[in-house]
Each structure stands twice: as structure tokens, then as C-alpha cells.
Symmetry: C2
Subunit: 308 residues, 2 copies
């Protein structure tokens, strides 16, 4: 029996459409109502058959919903909460999937009506692709979903939401929003920013042609282009809404990089060797934790030769 009769998905990109697919495949809801700001995207969701009903007005989409999942760029969270507030029914559970939590909670909470259970969340899953076509039902399998409830959150609502994410394939963790934002700053936000930055640096070089960067990218550079191909709106918002934690991690990263730069300048081979050895162990731990494949080159298939 589905845990929820009606689920409303506000936003139907990679995460929203993956939720729609896993809910349908595993029968987690009787009815899925989809709303998103762009008429074109909503039409595409309908073409893909992702839901049972489609609404341009988010307040209408949530009217009968027992669970509302907001999957929009974090900068839009406040406006979405304000827009859906009139439609939310008492006892409904409202959650989100945003990559920053303190800011989302601050933006959404003032708009949440009495009797609605708002519990912020963040599934640690995704790819560099975006839009309703990019989602797939197994996206959350074996991934963590972090919930960041307020101290007075309703235990029954927490229990229902946790079960929902488990049914989607996730393992559920609970932490406070500030800690979430600091952890994600290092494991996700800094890697994306660094990737965007290095791809930008390479793209700007005048002494090395763009075609050289492209041709020889299999020597390392191409790995970074994956994260740097992520959704620009989503990542602009992450940077703007987790500023302090990101600046803290950036400053540690730059301090360490200055020290590495100095080791290279002064030919300190032992220091380089020590770091390069220590980092190997980290990957091993990730593989052992079931969060990475133990295959060379990510098990990446060979790229296909270009047709002439």
C-alpha cells in the first residue's frame, strides 16, 4: 500500500523526474501531481508520462497532496513556498531536495501554514545532466538522503518521510542544517567550484589552443568537465546560498594549494610523495563504503571515434 495517496512534485528536473519515476515503479503514491514554472518543461513531463496530473499553478497542484516535494534551484525556495502556501492542507508533509539547508529553511519556514509539517531534506544523488529527460528510477539506490528537521519536528512525519526515502532506495541520515551545509561544502560544493574554475582557466589560455585542450583531455582534464557541465542556475544558487561554508572550504583549499605550490617550486619531492600517497587511501575507503566502483577510469566506456 502506498505511503501517500497524493504526492505533489514542484519542479520536475533531474531530481523531480527521478522521484516521479521511482514512485511509479515502486508504487509509492496513488497519484502524482506535477507542477513546474516553465510551460515547456511541464509539457515535456506530460509527454514522458511522469505524473497523473499537471498544473501550471503550484497552489492548485498541492491542494490534495499528502506529500509535497520541492525540487527547484535553492534560490527559488522562498518564492515556491509562498506560492504553494494557500493550497497546502493541514497534516501534509512538505519537504525539499535542495543542496543547501540553512538558507532553504530560512526562506521556506515563514510561509509554512500551521499544521503543515515542513522537514527539509537533501538526497545525495545526481548526475551532471538536467531536465525531466535526465531522471531515472534508480538514481537514489544506495545513496544517502540527509534530513534536517527542526528541533520540534513531528516524529510521525519524520518517520513517514524517512520511510519514503528508504522506499526510493536511499539510506537516511539526520543532521542539523548548519552541519549539513559544512559537510556538503567540502564534498560537493567545493569540488564543483574547483571543476568550473579549472575548466574556465583552460578555456582562457591563449598559449594553448582550445583544440589542444580538447584533443588531449583524456589525460586528466576531461574528468573535471563532468561536474563543470552541471546546471548553471542550480550551482549559482548553491554558491549564493551556502556562502560562508563555501568560503571557509575555499580558503582551506587555497592555503593547502599554496603549500603544494611552494613544494613544487622548491623541489620538495618528499612532501609531494607523502600527499600523493595519502590521497590514494581515501579512494580506497570510498570504494569500500560502496560509494564508488573499483574499476579503472570509473569503468568509463571508451569514447567512440568521431565520424569524418
Amino acid at each position: 500500500m502506498p505511503a501517500f495517496k497524493t504526492v505533489a512534485l514542484i519542479g520536475i528536473g533531474l531530481i523531480g523526474s527521478s522521484l516521479a519515476r521511482v514512485m511509479r515503479d515502486r508504487k509509492l503514491a496513488d497519484r502524482i501531481v506535477i507542477s513546474t514554472r516553465s510551460a515547456e518543461t511541464l509539457k515535456r513531463a506530460e509527454e514522458l508520462g511522469l505524473g497523473d496530473a499537471y498544473e501550471t499553478d503550484p497552489a492548485k497542484a498541492v491542494v490534495d497532496a499528502d506529500l509535497i516535494i520541492v525540487s527547484v534551484p535553492v534560490g527559488a525556495s522562498g518564492a515556491v513556498a509562498e506560492a504553494i502556501a494557500p493550497g497546502l492542507k493541514p497534516g501534509a508533509i512538505l519537504t525539499d531536495v535542495g543542496s543547501t539547508k540553512a538558507s532553504v529553511i530560512q526562506q521556506m519556514t515563514p510561509h509554512v501554514p500551521e499544521g503543515v509539517h515542513f522537514i527539509a531534506g537533501h538526497p545525495i544523488a545526481g548526475t551532471e545532466k538536467s531536465g525531466p529527460d535526465a531522471g531515472f528510477a534508480t538514481l537514489f539506490d544506495n545513496r544517502w538522503c540527509i534530513l534536517t528537521p527542526a528541533a520540534d519536528a513531528d516524529p510521525a512525519a519524520m518517520e513517514k518521510l524517512s520511510r519514503f526515502w528508504s522506499a526510493c532506495g536511499s539510506k537516511v541520515d539526520v543532521m542539523d542544517p548548519q552541519h549539513h551545509d559544512m559537510v556538503l561544502a567540502i564534498v560537493s560544493h567545493l569540488p564543483h567550484i574547483i571543476a568550473y574554475n579549472i575548466v574556465g582557466t583552460a578555456d582562457d589560455l591563449e598559449a594553448v589552443t582550445k583544440s589542444e585542450v580538447i584533443k588531449y583531455s583524456a589525460s586528466g582534464f576531461r574528468d573535471f568537465t563532468r561536474l563543470a557541465a552541471s546546471d548553471p542556475t542550480m550551482w549559482r544558487d548553491v554558491c549564493l546560498h551556502n556562502r560562508d561554508a563555501i568560503l571557509e572550504m575555499l580558503s582551506r583549499f587555497m592555503e593547502d594549494l599554496s603549500s603544494l605550490q611552494r613544494a613544487i617550486r622548491w623541489g620538495d619531492g618528499d612532501k609531494l610523495f607523502d600527499l600523493f600517497t595519502r590521497t590514494r587511501a581515501v579512494r580506497k575507503s570510498i570504494v569500500e563504503a560502496g560509494q564508488e566502483v573499483d574499476l579503472p577510469d570509473f569503468g568509463r566506456p571508451a569514447a567512440h571515434p568521431v565520424k569524418p
Copy 2:
């Protein structure tokens, strides 16, 4: 008909053992002689049946060789050239596969006997794995191999070496060693250094536990751990032997990162959005050039759940 009667492989790690495999599979040599410094590695190469003869003394290994391929960390190039010099026969072609070229040429050239054709080279191919077990015959397929011959290099030797790499599956480019070192500094050396650095920064954090870094790594961080799991000796040597080009690229990268840091601090969303949009196009070009797969998440298979 094989292009070479006898090929000597000095060093039998990822690259050397991939060469041994592709030469055997595509019949590119009548006889493969293998030599490497570590007795244990040489024994392993023999167990794997990678060659026809195995020599602990590199000078003996090269005695009959028409082609000698040195595949060792670039810091060992000079010592290897000195060690094999007495055994090299006139007319033989000597090459290498090192990731830096000016330094290797400077180290090896003084030891090359009259009548031996030394042409430095660098196949742009690899994985993060190392050792004789890590190699595979298709490693060079659809990848570039850069040759950096001296101005007075023998055209016939160049032709033979180019054909050899083509037969291994590579496309061959020719450039001068300094330009090679600058191009590789941005497409390969900087990405590795940045990856090592960020993994080190995360490993050092006291406010975020190591298990949190591991658990949530699928959100971006794990991508960097692949390059940061590369061979420490090889990468120490690259840093020490391409110092100037690496420092130049590092300094550009840090300058750009400071500018990005400032945009984050001051909430300059337009600047962030512009960069994050521009970088998307770079990945698209790499895919179009046949140097990357157009699959989400590198087509990486899902990691397996941990056994309890």
C-alpha cells in the same frame, strides 16, 4: 609483418604492460624483451606472460632491440639511459612515454650513442591504476600520442615510430618539447595536482568527519579521488620535472579562483552564472571530438552495496 624484430620494454607498469599486450595481440614485434628494476615486478610480468625474455640488467635487455621503449617515472630517465647505453645497437630507435618532455630529453640525450635514433614521445592514455596487472591492449585506441623529435631527427626513424604508435591504436601528433610541456601542464598536470590537493584538504578537516566525506562523496568529491589515486612516484616526478609550466598554470588557476571567491563573497550571481554556462560547452566539444562518452556520470556503473 611486424615492423620491429625485437622490442625492448624498460619498465613494465601500466603503460609498458599495455604496450606488451597490444604488441602481442596485433603482432607488432617478433620478440619482446622486458626489463624493470624491481625483481618482483619482473617476476609478475613473466607470470603474466607479457614478453619473450626477461632481464634484470637493462643493458642486456636492449642488445638486440630495434626499438627500445622506456616507460619509467620521468625522474629515472637519465639513469635508465645511462644504464642501457652500452647495449644499444646502431640504427636502433630509442623512445620513451614520459609525461614531461624537455626534462626527459635533457636527461637522456647525453647518454645516447652515435647512430641510435632517440625520439621522445608521450602517449596521452592511462588510468589511475599502476603496475603490470593494470595494462590492457586497447589502452591506446583513439588516443593521441605526441612525439617531440629533435630538429635533426632521422625522418625514416620518425616514420617507423609513428607507424608503430598508429598500429597500437593511437593518432600521432608532433610538437616541440616546450609546447608539449605547457599543453600537458594544463590538461593533465594541473588537474592531477588539484585533485591531490582537494582530497588532502578534505582528509585534513576536523569539523567534518572522515566517514562523512566518504559517505556523501557521490555528490562530487569522489570524481577527484580517481586522479588522486594515481601513482605517487610518477606524479612526484612530473611535478619536479615540469616545474615552470606547472607553476605558471597553477598561478593562473589561483588567480581565477580568487576572482571566483570574490564573486561568491559579494554575491555576484551573474558572474557565477556566466562561468558555469561557458564551461558546459567545453565538455560538449570533448564529447564531439570522441575523447569522452556522452553518458551521464561517465557511464559509471552503480557501486555495489557493502556486504555487512
